[in-house]
Subunit: 755 residues, 2 copies
């Protein structure tokens, strides 16, 4: 029975996909006419044959051979090596340098001083098996960059993930973190929120540890036996508040070029106000074991063999952190291939190349695939191919401390980018498994078109088909999601919204450039994130060691770039944008209702004294505080704005045949207009309290960190109880969407292509 | 703000409940007329004043002073002490003895023999702090009674909870337990299902361990610092398959009296076919650490500081178990207070008194409250009170090995009970917290009436109000349920359905006697269940040390008994039964739909090859097998039967005023008829493959163990894919419900009391 099914599967897969070549196209290519589509497809077929796994692997071995963080000697060597490669492949390439604030630790002391003594190791022991882990002298130690300096001794409080909901629970238990050092586990939200919220609640220091339940032995065997984080493993990472602005904390909004206006360190809003230190669970265990007080709720418990208590105390901790607050060079590698017809329309493609230590996975798994993609395009150019539009391929430095390389470059070239950039396409880590994409929704159709042509190396169906299967069976790339049956009847799979956390942030959030972030993953587990154990040895033992997904990422991103570079008309499809905005609109309406309902339920429960009746009196809990409900909100103008956009999107699609009749010059003018279409979605004032973040559709959440909030002005105002602001922001976003719709209609009118 | 709310709470509570006395009654008492209600209320008020916490505590200290399992010397002493107490309080009392199969271990060996060596301790180290734990010579060691003998060495496989869903996951991973020893953690279902299912899948042995995530350090500090299970702690317990029949495995259906027909041990269906041994997590850790093979899914992971793998092997285990298969006496204590007017209507009240070791909590927390209730009724009798009907108060022996004392007694007196028993009221463990009740739904109204008159000692509102609050805020007694807002607009809180797991089983499942099981709990945590650490020292340090809930249970159960003993007409309300059956009917309809939908989804996923597309090919998973959908089923005859019952219930309620006009003799005859009403809900043939279980409404689930399945014939046939049987069973239950309705209508007709 089983065997039979397996055989029939192979047979049906074979029918679907003879060999590894893509299935024949059935429809027209978006943005092309039948003739140009034919030419494009021929070039794409040639392109697809080029990327080579062995070369991707060799790129990885080279780039991750030594620690290569910002300012390190090997990062400089990598930059030069990258420039040489690009040149070898026929690209123009150079290094663009920014000097930025890059603090490094001078002193790190963490010790338990009561009720017993323990001095934290704060060190990642090299593995005998992994030669890369022995390069101690050039490794950056475990720290959170942009932590404050400090030297404090105080009682310890455990705050779980240290997110807003966790503080509500602390409050119910009458536990204050004021004057305390909090210890939080990684997870549940962006790391920088942990110290930020701790400081807002009066804590004087924040320790962040990696719990073994999350990426240690709770998930799989730890290194060197398995891929998970050993007790020593430390997750480095930035705690700069990139929800305000990313990049050099001293140069918000402008490039860190010589002569740029720089803030004093004390003026930089994004630098953390309290000291923060990341530690491994080996060091965390004695600290947590020394806590007393009530036992934490079930969701707060981790994988250490002890009972998790809140504290405060009797554990008392001494934490001393002293940093060298010097500047370091950030070396972006910029490679260009000039467009033959519309050189002033830019397609920007990026992946960072700085790692916290060796960074074989983060970011080199993505960067080495991107390089192979660039080589393939170089090959193609040697065979006679020319992009109509200008390609800008980048290797960003300084992503890890806070998206610095991409931000400083984008801020430096903001005027050009605002005029010229039609697409920013990002990648970062890459691995075995499922395709995933997030970004601006006018790109959704194109992403679907392309992924329907890429063959998954493991299952031999298209990566689109495999992505669809993952949504249906397990709700997404990572196991444990809610199965989504709807996608079975849809021809397009949704792309996710994105906020921050990789180099697309400035392009999307600040400049309003149509952006995408793509990659493969979801199969191999690992616990080496931002540690000294993320090395080529690890990849060769626990990762995509044959690099089968490197060429696949190169194919996917490369074809997206080629389509954008060569389409007769830039291949945006605004219907997906309108459809997605409708969904966000619906979510906001539901949010108002659910906030009203929650407030009503809380009010009733308080009035009926239900909390004292259900809480164990021995535990002395406080009842939760009352909630302020939002007033009813009128979303009709948002509904109407989205309806206008929907109409404009339909008009635009209907006008496609007419676009074919335009003269080359008219089409060039049309594309120039189209390039800037998304700038209409920027707010002049930015979002409240963070003027740098101007995108009114997608933004990193103030309490989500990397995570996105869509229609953020309205949504966050509602979530955070600022109801007049929600109404005001609703007006702003209505106008932006109307402007976008009007701009599209104007283009159609200008070129006389209405149907 | 907070302070203010606390003050206003106190004020409003004071308004509700001046002092500790009950609020005045607003309505009439069910089954009483205004005059008899007044008399009843006066006696109840006197009764409520009697139960005394100190006496409950003294009962506990006496009964749990030494190990007192079946056949032990101290259990004999307890039996005699109980008889003496009852006599002292004015009751008739005697011991009723049954000689039953009660195997005890002669040899227990568990050792890891490869890849390393470890000999399991299998012993619970005494605590220096707890003198009770030192009585090693009289303690029963850790074992699962009715395990098979055996001596096997085989590879080990970890099966999580060892439930059906777990075997589906093993199957997907291509892991067979055939010829293996399985290790399962406690939880997820009744312990006896673990070896039963293991044996069905070909395993040769079963080890069951207590994972620290479930009742060890994952929940709170372990003994002696906190209340949770220490590494040595072993959960004893029966693995006799009581879903077939409880009681002495050798005498199904009849009392184990001298001369009773006894099966050979080899013929007894309820004795486990393979050896089973319970162990602590101290002994489990080296075994689990020695397992290899794939990593288990997230839900399978426990709290040990290691990576949980499936196996099989390389861990190889030697398990040897040899039992003494002798008989032991089971000593039920039976106390009676004869009814003054209807002595042949019986109100039976029970709680077991045998423990696995000292059993201070299980069962003595309940038994010592029951004793105080019996003393109070004795006091009341001395003051002139007389129950109209006969009270039978029992202390069951042999509950732990398989509800033996209650089952053998009920089987011995089956004929009398079938004719005379109007109520069986059970309790078992008791503790601080919320009231909980389960049982026959014609008792729901009475339970609500009574709990609206009992004042909660911790919050000073009625226990009904507190139970309601717990349902609204946290979905029930245990934290983590789904809040149920509906109960805010209802005057009655639902009682749960019950299946097995305590002494009500034979009364309810086999004899069809209206049954209830009640108790308080949900606040104090403990990890001493069925271990040598369940002692008076534990209660005095971590339990309800002031025994504030002992008198409350005595009040609650005592008043339920008094109402049933003295009502003019037995206080059943069939409307709740009809309402509840409607809900079960709805559940069955939904079950058919969801089984159809699941099968359809699975079929589609298999046809589309979605599993191979989503599973990591490196893991070599098998696709899940296809599911057979149930055909559409016609529930109209069940709908109609329930509608008839609903009508009859309404007629019965409408006839209440007319019942008052009956002569005493007529009322006596009416009550005699009413007493047997629920026997209509028994099936002559019992449930398929288990003729002993005759209740067609409530039964322990074959794959639920203690847990209930309602309308079990239909529901289990559907769940287990026997669809013709489901249809057949539907006919049987339709008829029973129609018979019940007709019987109620007949009573109304017979006594000419229709409205």
């Amino acid at each position: 029975m089983r065997k039979h099914r397996t055989l029939s599967l192979i047979a049906s897969l074979a029918a679907l996909a003879p060999g590894r070549s893509a299935p024949p196209l059935t429809g027209q290519l978006l943005g092309f006419n039948p003739e140009t589509a034919k030419v494009e497809q021929d070039w794409e077929a040639r392109f697809r044959a080029i990327p080579d796994a062995k070369r991707v692997h060799d790129n990885m071995l080279h780039l991750a051979a030594h620690p290569h963080h910002v300012g390190s000697d090997y990062q400089r060597q990598n930059a030069e090596w990258l420039v040489a490669r690009y040149k070898e492949w026929g690209w123009d390439a150079h290094i663009e340098r920014f000097d930025v604030l890059f603090p490094t630790p001078k002193e790190r002391v963490l010790e338990l001083v009561a009720p017993s003594k323990y001095v934290a190791k704060l060190d990642e022991t090299p593995l005998p098996e992994d030669p890369y882990t022995h390069e101690k002298t050039t490794q950056l130690p475990g720290y959170n960059i942009y932590s404050a300096d400090g030297d404090v001794t105080a009682p310890l409080v455990y705050v779980n993930n240290g997110m807003p909901a966790d503080y509500e629970i602390l409050e119910r238990h009458n536990i204050s973190v004021s004057g305390a050092i909090v210890i939080s586990r990684y997870g549940g939200g962006w790391r920088g929120l942990k110290p930020k919220l701790a400081a807002e609640h009066g804590a004087v220091d924040c320790i962040i540890y990696s719990d073994p339940a999350d990426d240690g032995y709770g998930q799989d065997e730890v290194l060197p036996k398995g891929p998970m984080r050993p007790p020593d493993g430390i997750q480095r990472g930035s705690v700069a508040d990139t929800t305000l602005y990313p990049g050099d904390p001293l140069t918000p909004g402008v490039g860190s070029v010589p002569g740029a206006k720089r803030l004093k360190i004390s003026e930089a809003q994004t630098i953390m106000k309290i000291p923060v230190l990341p530690i491994g669970y080996g060091d965390a265990k004695p600290l947590l074991a020394a806590l007393s007080g009530p036992v934490v709720p079930a969701e707060w418990r981790g994988g250490l063999p002890l009972t998790y208590h809140f504290g405060p105390g009797p554990a008392k901790v001494h934490l001393k952190l002293v940093f060298d607050w010097g500047q370091k060079p950030v070396l972006d590698v910029i490679a260009t291939m000039k467009g033959s017809e519309e050189p002033d329309v830019w397609i920007v493609r990026g992946n960072h190349y700085d790692g916290w230590v060796n960074g074989a996975d983060d970011p080199i798994s993505g960067q080495s695939a991107l390089l192979e993609e660039a080589r393939a395009l170089g090959e193609l150019a040697k065979q006679g191919w020319r992009p109509k539009r200008t390609l800008i391929y980048t290797a960003w430095d300084g992503e890890e401390p806070g998206l610095i390389g991409s931000t400083e470059w984008a801020e430096t070239h903001a005027e050009d980018l605002s005029q010229k950039a039609a697409l920013y396409l990002n990648s970062d880590e890459n691995g075995r498994g499922f395709f995933g994409a997030g970004g601006s929704h006018e790109l959704e159709q194109m992403v679907n078109d392309v992924t329907k042509e890429i063959i998954d190396p493991e299952t031999k169906v298209t990566v689109w088909k495999r992505q669809q299967a993952s949504l249906v069976v397990r709700g997404g790339r990572r196991a444990g999601g809610t199965p989504n049956q709807d996608v079975l009847t849809q021809n397009t799979l949704p792309i996710e919204a994105i906020g921050s956390g990789s180099d697309f942030a400035t392009f999307l959030d600040h400049l309003g450039i149509a952006s995408l972030s793509i990659g493969y993953g979801g199969e191999d587990r690992g616990g080496t994130y931002h540690s000294a154990y993320d090395t080529p040895w690890f990849t060769d033992h626990f990762g995509d060691k044959e690099e089968v997904y490197g060429p696949i990422l190169a194919q996917t991103a490369g074809i997206l770039v080629m389509r954008f570079a060569s389409a007769d008309v830039l291949p945006y499809d605004f219907t997906a944008m309108a459809r997605t905005l409708k969904q966000y609109d619906h979510e906001l309406k539901e949010l108002v209702k659910s906030l009203q309902k929650d407030a009503e339920t809380r009010k009733r429960n308080l009035e009926m004294n239900l909390y004292p009746l259900t809480d164990d009196p021995r535990q002395g809990l406080e009842a939760p505080t009352s909630l302020v409900p939002p007033p009813d909100m009128n979303f009709s103008s948002l509904d109407e704005a989205i309806a206008s956009l929907e109409k404009a999107a339909a008009h635009f699609n209907a006008a496609r045949p007419a676009m074919e009749t335009l003269s080359p010059d008219q089409r060039k003018a049309l594309n120039a207009e189209l390039t800037t279409v998304d700038r209409k979605l920027l707010g002049d004032q930015g979002l409240p309290r963070r003027p740098w973040v101007r995108n009114l559709i997608y933004a990193p959440g103030v309490y989500a960190g990397y995570g996105v909030k869509t229609l953020p002005g309205v949504r966050e105002a509602l979530e955070q109880g600022r109801f007049p602001e929600a109404t005001e922001q609703l007006g702003i976003v209505d106008k932006a969407i109307n402007d976008e719709a009007a701009y599209i209609e104007k283009i159609i009118g200008t070129f006389g292509i209405s149907n």
